[in-house]
Symmetry: C2
Subunit: 359 residues, 2 copies
């Protein structure tokens, strides 16, 4: 029986993604070969990756002059590639928690003095998004993490940056329309709204390649390699890209990112509404910065010792993946695109029932 | 209908790998979640990766003191990681063709003068394995490519090296017993004998970590990170690792690498025997260095113009993936573990029939 899956990533995927990938593992389009067997240089696989790129561009209305890549190594490898390619004198970072902190650390490999943390919400365990800072016009780039999977905050505004603007959108890509023209690069692991772990997407403005620092860069870490070779300098993660393509087809069939946006809002309203009306549960982050993707909450102090019990209570109702990250505690319900309103309703019902029984 | 798949990689996989992966994409062990949805931090996935590591160690009889990793980024990323971690004064490479040449290039990023190509078969388009050289005792490491997927040569002897010994075994791992104790590191893309593209294996001697050069290394490129975190510093390619585990179970069920070794020899004897007895086809590499994994052959000059015709002829008999790499021409039949003797017999029958019709 299918569970109500609130995993933070890898996470729930659409039934269409699972069914079509399962079939393609046995036979891709009736060609007598599995998606795991077909050559990445074949027309059969080329059609899959081309389609994934085209759907990505179509769904996000990506303007001319951008390339879409599908790479291995995860967003964590991108943390290293960004400074390797683009950090010359000064990289500017917004520090909004765990993942942005990791991105900053990889830049500092090139020298602490080259990295400016323009603002940070570390003073309050990253429970809000810093605002009111000015990005220096002489920076090589400005980097943000739009959604903070662990802390549960999100930047849903497309900022205007005076310098090349790079965003890690691992956990909220494809959940809303994005004004891609405002960014020079958007990237992320695909294992949230796009597909399985093992593939990373990169949307990169071709002009940004003109700003690569003059230093020797390992071939696999050069964005130019990957753009020139259409993500196939080496063998790409074929089955992972296939599953992403299936997810993008599913997003399109439902009405695209506009519909995902609407659904994300409905799900978030339902769950945040429930905790705001509860005497037992409460949200952990500043209201104006609440993530729609990762909804973090705890029990009020007087019920604190009931938290573990609620996780078991929910599990009996087939609700899984709601344990909060250890750095926040409590609960985290990740409501990515494939999580349905019914899944969220099941969680809200469980919260209400538990509160009635225990409060 | 299932084809006779001779792809060079991605390539034919066992039916068990395909069937079990297809099922797990719908539901992993009846837990109500797909292998693409389950958290990499869950006990369900931990069991998968632990099992894959244990099977790897068991099948190759890996001694104590080695770690087995499953990473993203492909062997091409390893080409860069090796010098990043281990190249201080001098890295020594054996150049046996395309892939070793690429590995050499990544080391040269640290300075041409730091890379010594101890021997090369470039003089004869890499159609043999160089021998009779001496690895200098003051080198940081000695690197070889055991099987040359494109050129069709193979080193099946476990060399003795006076310095840390590193081998790219992307395309012949798990095809024979290996004396792992003679190596400090063995690595490769998994998309040949192990599973789908998108995951890379690394067998690394823990002692080698003491020889890491003192320089700032991006976290994802540090072997120490990956060893310390059991391949899970970041989200690993879960479904790919699952499929590798299924393949390793299948190898074990058939009798392990000893049985794979026997089968590889039978298949190679059959195909090389056919071409040696043919007036139309001939092998391209030195007999003593013939690969059992990638069997390259061409037509004799008088029949040269028939090569394209033979590919179509074979395709009509459901034989696919036999076109030779453009740098060699002719044909390449990759006979990895999952390719059966019956597949090879079908190819040999097609060759004989074509020769009878045309010679």
């Amino acid at each position: 029986m299918r569970k109500h899956i609130f995993n933070a990533g890898p996470c729930k995927l659409s039934d269409a993604t699972l069914e079509n990938t399962s079939k393609a593992v046995l036979d891709l389009n009736g060609i007598g070969q599995s998606i795991m067997e077909v050559s990445h240089r074949s027309k059969d696989f080329q059609a899959v990756i081309d389609d994934a790129v085209d759907l990505f561009k179509e769904l996000l209305k990506i303007p001319e002059g951008y390339s879409v890549l599908f790479l291995g190594g995860g967003a964590s490898t991108q943390f290293a590639m960004i400074p390797y390619n683009f950090l010359n004198k000064k990289g500017v970072y917004l520090d909004t928690g765990t993942w942005s902190t990791k991105a900053i650390k990889e830049a500092q490999i090139w020298g602490d003095e080259k990295v400016e943390v323009i603002a940070s919400s570390k003073d309050k365990n990253f429970m809000y998004i810093p605002k009111g800072y000015t990005v220096p016009a002489d920076a090589d780039y400005f980097h943000i993490t739009t959604n903070n999977t662990i802390k549960g905050t999100e930047i849903r505004e497309d900022y205007t940056s005076p310098v090349p603007f790079l965003a890690d959108m691992s956990s909220d890509i494809m959940s809303r329309p994005v004004d891609v023209a405002k960014y020079d690069m958007i990237y992320g692991g695909c294992q949230k709204n796009l597909g399985p772990a093992g593939v990373t997407f990169v949307i990169i403005k071709d002009e940004l390649l003109n700003k690569v620092v003059d230093r020797p860069i390992p071939t696999m870490l050069k964005y130019k390699t990957q753009v020139d070779k259409g993500s196939m300098f080496n063998t790409p993660p074929c089955i992972n890209i296939f599953a992403v393509r299936e997810t993008l087809k599913w997003v399109k069939s439902l009405g695209g990112v506009e519909e995902m946006d609407k659904r994300a809002q409905q799900k978030a309203d339902l769950l945040y509404g429930a905790m705001d009306n509860s005497k037992m549960f409460k949200g952990t982050v500043a209201k104006e910065d609440r993530s729609r993707m990762n909804i973090c909450f705890v029990m009020n102090d007087e019920y604190k010792e009931k938290e573990t019990e609620f996780i078991s209570f929910a599990a009996q109702k087939n609700i899984i993946g709601i344990k909060g990250h250890r750095s926040v505690g409590g609960f985290r319900a990740s409501c990515y695109n494939a999580v349905t309103l019914e899944d969220v309703q099941a969680l809200v019902d469980a919260m209400n029932e538990f509160e009635k029984l225990n409060a």
